[in-house]
Symmetry: C2
Subunit: 103 residues, 2 copies
Amino acid sequence: MALTFASFQQLIRDRYYATDSARGTAGTFMWLMEEVGELSTALMDNNPPPGKPAPTAAQRANLEEEFADVIAWLATLANINGVDLERALSKYTTAGKVEGVKD
Amino acid sequence: MALTFASFQQLIRDRYYATDSARGTAGTFMWLMEEVGELSTALMDNNPPPGKPAPTAAQRANLEEEFADVIAWLATLANINGVDLERALSKYTTAGKVEGVKD
């Protein structure tokens, strides 16, 4: 079955809410930033400059993992701030609400 | 109908792939960072220190928007790097694969 934002956010809530809520928003944001840094590294590894070797299978797999970790930390931050991600994304999914730009 | 990662990633692909692909990974990562900065501001606005006024309805709405924008830019980065977010998230959604920590 296709993974929904609501079910993923609930899974993250079930598994991590108590710990993340106790840590609070600022500390949780720092964890998010660590994963964003790892995503940056993985993106560079997977976009080598001309003449450098193509990314390895391990580097491809790591790139997927870093996207997952960033989304997991975003889901946690949303949970401890009472934000429903599906509802938030209605900005994009409601026809005509966003044109041309993502801001 | 509940919003799936696959349908959201496709929506972002349909709307932005040509522009984002032409801009490339590094430039698109900078856009993501801008939105992460706006999310940080919105999280602070919605977690005022003791004695400061509670967040306004506009600040609440803006927090939702910033989560949406960060996820939209992540979806774009995933698209131009050939990453399927639902597959990436199987790290979390496959029972037993992640215990205790999000890294």
